[in-house]
C-alpha cells in the first residue's frame, strides 16, 4: 500500500498529519497507561489497609493487565477510526483547494518550451534595446558633430559676407565686377598710354 506522504498538507500545517496523529496517539496511550497505573496503586493501597486480605498484588496486577489489554484493544480500534476521520476531514487539504502561496499556479501555466521562448524573447529584446540605445548615442553624437560643422561652415560664410560687406562699405558692391572693371580700365589705360607713347615718338622723329 503506497503511503500518502500528505506533503501538501505538511506545506500548509508545517507538520505531517500522520505525525500529528502519532503524537496524539502516543499521548493518549500514555494517559491510559498512567491512569491504569494510578488505579492499580490506589487499589493496592486500599488492600494494604484491609487486615488479612487474601488478594495479592500479583492478582491485582493480573486484573490490571486484563482490563488494560481489553481497553488497549478498544483504544487502538477507536483511535484508528478517529485517525482515519481526522486525516479525511480535518487535516486534509481538499483536492479542489489550492494554498495561497500556489495561487499563481492557476493563473498562468507555460510549458518548458514556451518558458524558454519567453526567455529568448527577453534576451533578444534586451539586445535590441541595447542596439537602439547605441544607435541613439550615435545619432546624438552625429547631431553634435553636425552642430559644430554647421557652426564652422556658417562662420566661413559669415567671413565671406563680412568681406563683401567690407567691399560694399567701400563702394564696391560686387568685388568681381569691380575687379573686371579695373582690369578693363587698366587695359584701356595701357592702350592709351601706348598710343600716347607712339604719338610721342612720332613727334620726336618729325
Amino acid at each position: 500500500m503506497s503511503v500518502d506522504p500528505m506533503t501538501y498538507e505538511a506545506q500548509f500545517f508545517g507538520f505531517t498529519p500522520q505525525t500529528c496523529m502519532l503524537r496524539i496517539y502516543i499521548a493518549f496511550q500514555d494517559y491510559l497507561f498512567e491512569v491504569m497505573q494510578a488505579v492499580e496503586q490506589v487499589i493496592l493501597k486500599k488492600l494494604d489497609g484491609i487486615p488479612e486480605c487474601e488478594i495479592s498484588p500479583v492478582q491485582i496486577r493480573k486484573c490490571t493487565e486484563k482490563f488494560l489489554c481489553f481497553m488497549k484493544g478498544r483504544f487502538d480500534k477507536l483511535f484508528g477510526k478517529m485517525e482515519q476521520l481526522f486525516l479525511q476531514l480535518i487535516l486534509r487539504i481538499p483536492p479542489n483547494i489550492l494554498l495561497p502561496e500556489d495561487k499563481s499556479q492557476e493563473v498562468l501555466t507555460y510549458s518548458a518550451e514556451e518558458f524558454q521562448l519567453l526567455h529568448k524573447e527577453i534576451e533578444q529584446l534586451q539586445e535590441k534595446y541595447k542596439t537602439e540605445l547605441c544607435t541613439k548615442q550615435a545619432f546624438l553624437a552625429e547631431l553634435e558633430e553636425q552642430k559644430i560643422v554647421q557652426a564652422k561652415l556658417k562662420k566661413t560664410l559669415t567671413v565671406f559676407d563680412e568681406l563683401e560687406n567690407a567691399g560694399r562699405e567701400n563702394g564696391t558692391s560686387d568685388f568681381r565686377e569691380s575687379l573686371v572693371f579695373l582690369v578693363q580700365n587698366s587695359r584701356k589705360l595701357q592702350n592709351i598710354r601706348e598710343n600716347v607713347e607712339k604719338e610721342g615718338k612720332k613727334l620726336k622723329v618729325s
Binding site: 506522504p5 500528505m6 505538511a10 506545506q11 505531517t16 502561496e101 534586451q126
Partner: protein
C-alpha cells in the same frame, strides 16, 4: 521520512517566494 516530507513541504512553501524576490531583484538590476 517524516522530516524529509516536512523539509520538502517547507521548501515548497518558502522557496518560490525567496526565488521570486531574487528574480525580481535581478530583473530590476538589469533594468537599471
Amino acid at each position: 521520512f517524516d522530516e524529509i516530507i516536512v523539509d520538502i513541504a517547507t521548501k515548497r512553501k518558502q522557496y518560490p517566494r525567496k526565488i521570486l524576490e531574487c528574480v525580481i531583484k535581478i530583473i530590476k538590476a538589469k533594468r537599471e
